[in-house]
Symmetry: C2
Subunit: 314 residues, 2 copies
């Protein structure tokens, strides 16, 4: 099937076409460039929400509850579950994400899991392109959920219009929060499992820590939810809408999307340049330089200069 037909079918809401397009971009298939060029004029409509937080805070449950809430509002929803520690991708491999199956038969919901481990350039490379596919396929909202921890959280924040940071009571999240730098990335904070002991204390501690920094133009709200019982989810959707409107009024949405595009372009360009390094003079230039550095005949900076001189002459 040609790319044009695939894109047309994806626009019409055919899940198989969407799946095929994501697989194409994920596998860096030869058609990738053609796909991206065909999608470009169709993008820019989806509101991209990133959900992040430590394991056990209820990211998957919250994502599922958000899907239901947006569906009640008549929105088409895409879900991208990104697992940086897994080598497995695909719609069928959602692991223990049972709750998501509530939406499996809803044609207004597209759910995709995506592995980034081992990916060339990791998350920075693969996720934005999948978001682009979901956007072009007509999703009004794309929820990007990280499965796992660490650096990826910060990267997800860079991909989203709005970043939701989830916490749960009594997980020692206060200290964790400061460490992982989540206090800098959240636009909206959620204290999930708010029916548990310590929820108020967690919210209070969080509010205190958020207040410590310099005054912000946008003061991130803290929403208490019990996602498993659907409590507080409408309030979360309200908070997201407020942030979205605020971003629109303050030029922040444009700014974030430009920054995102900028990083994406840079990442693709660097990958292409790295490929040029590898191919340089039949794979011989870089190993020869490395040998000289390993032997102490040259230093890495001088060698890097020579490498750059090599590719810019190509």
């Amino acid at each position: 099937m040609d790319v044009g037909t695939l894109v047309e079918q994806a626009r019409a809401g055919r899940p198989r076409a969407v799946a095929r397009l994501i697989s194409l971009v994920e596998s860096a298939a030869p058609e990738l460039r053609e796909v991206m060029a065909a999608l470009a004029p169709l993008t820019g409509n989806a509101y991209v929400v990133g959900l992040t937080g430590s394991p056990g805070v209820g990211k998957s449950t919250s994502t599922s509850a958000l899907v239901s809430a947006y569906r009640r509002l008549g929105r088409r929803v895409g879900v991208l579950a990104v697992d940086p520690s897994s080598p497995f991708s695909g719609g069928a491999l959602l692991g223990d994400r049972v709750r998501m199956q509530d939406h499996a038969t809803d044609p207004g919901v597209y759910i995709r899991s995506m592995a980034t481990r081992g990916h060339l350039g990791g998350l920075a490379w693969a996720a934005p392109q999948a978001i682009r596919v979901l956007d072009a396929a007509g999703c009004d909202v794309v929820l990007v959920e990280t499965v796992g921890v660490g650096q990826s959280e910060v990267e997800i924040a860079a991909q989203a219009d709005t970043t939701v940071v989830l916490l749960a009571p009594g997980m020692g999240d206060g200290i964790q929060a400061a460490k992982a730098g989540i206090l800098e990335i959240g636009d909206v904070y959620v204290v999930n499992k708010a029916d548990r002991d310590g929820a108020d204390a967690t919210a209070r501690e969080l509010r205190h820590m958020l207040g410590l920094g310099e005054t912000r133009a946008w003061q991130p709200p803290i929403v208490k939810t019990v996602a498993a019982r659907n409590e507080g989810i409408d309030e979360l959707v309200d908070a997201l809408e407020k942030h979205r409107i605020w971003m629109g009024e303050h030029g922040e949405l444009t700014l974030r999307r430009q920054r995102r595009a900028s990083q994406e372009i840079e990442s693709i360009a660097l990958t292409a340049l790295r490929r040029r390094f590898d191919h340089l003079h039949g794979d011989q230039r870089l190993p020869a330089l490395a040998q000289k550095v390993a032997d102490g005949q040259s230093d890495p900076y001088t060698a890097a200069d020579e490498l750059i001189a090599g590719i810019t002459q190509l």
Copy 2:
């Protein structure tokens, strides 16, 4: 003080000169290139051992015990404690690494903590250069210890001649191990806290999992230690020496060091190219391209092509 004098003093074992050199490379000071060029002919002697493992396995205690063991053998030892989650660097900020203070007054030991969070290019960029300084300063052994978890573990392995993976009984490390990919990176495995329940089970499970893969030229040994009581440390040093000798005999040491130099050169070259992107046409080209992509007038691949065309004309 000029770079030549600093290098000379570092060679003579003056810790202040070593500290100053590492600070220079860490801060990407203007003298960086001069420093690297001056160090190049003095490098290649140190045996670089990476120590990695989950928090709580006793990395710091094991590192300290290894320092003592190598000192008894008359070797000069450098320790680089890399914390990817911390923005703080410097010899004074070793946090709770109290055990390291045993060596604070030993002129044959140089200890340095290094933060990589927020660093341009992270660990890949900063650590190899600090290792280079310690190598040139005459350290026979450089122990590189990661404080923290995640991707950095794999990166550390790429910097070391020999990678030691530490585990402890009953930490659920079995599953963790497979997940973090540590079964692929270890040259020597340590089950520390071997006086605890479950040490034999952990070693057995590890041996089983290591045996599952294809046959390896080097079969990684598993050493049981109680680092806090100095038990098994001589055996660990023996295992390291065996791996070092094996690598020398099989050309593996040369290969790894070349690979290391290659990655280092590439990383520096990519950083330099990224800087060119930023400076391109007075900071205007990339934002303009990003705007076009964000507006759907172009796609990221076409934009990346234009970006590359721009820098290769410089």
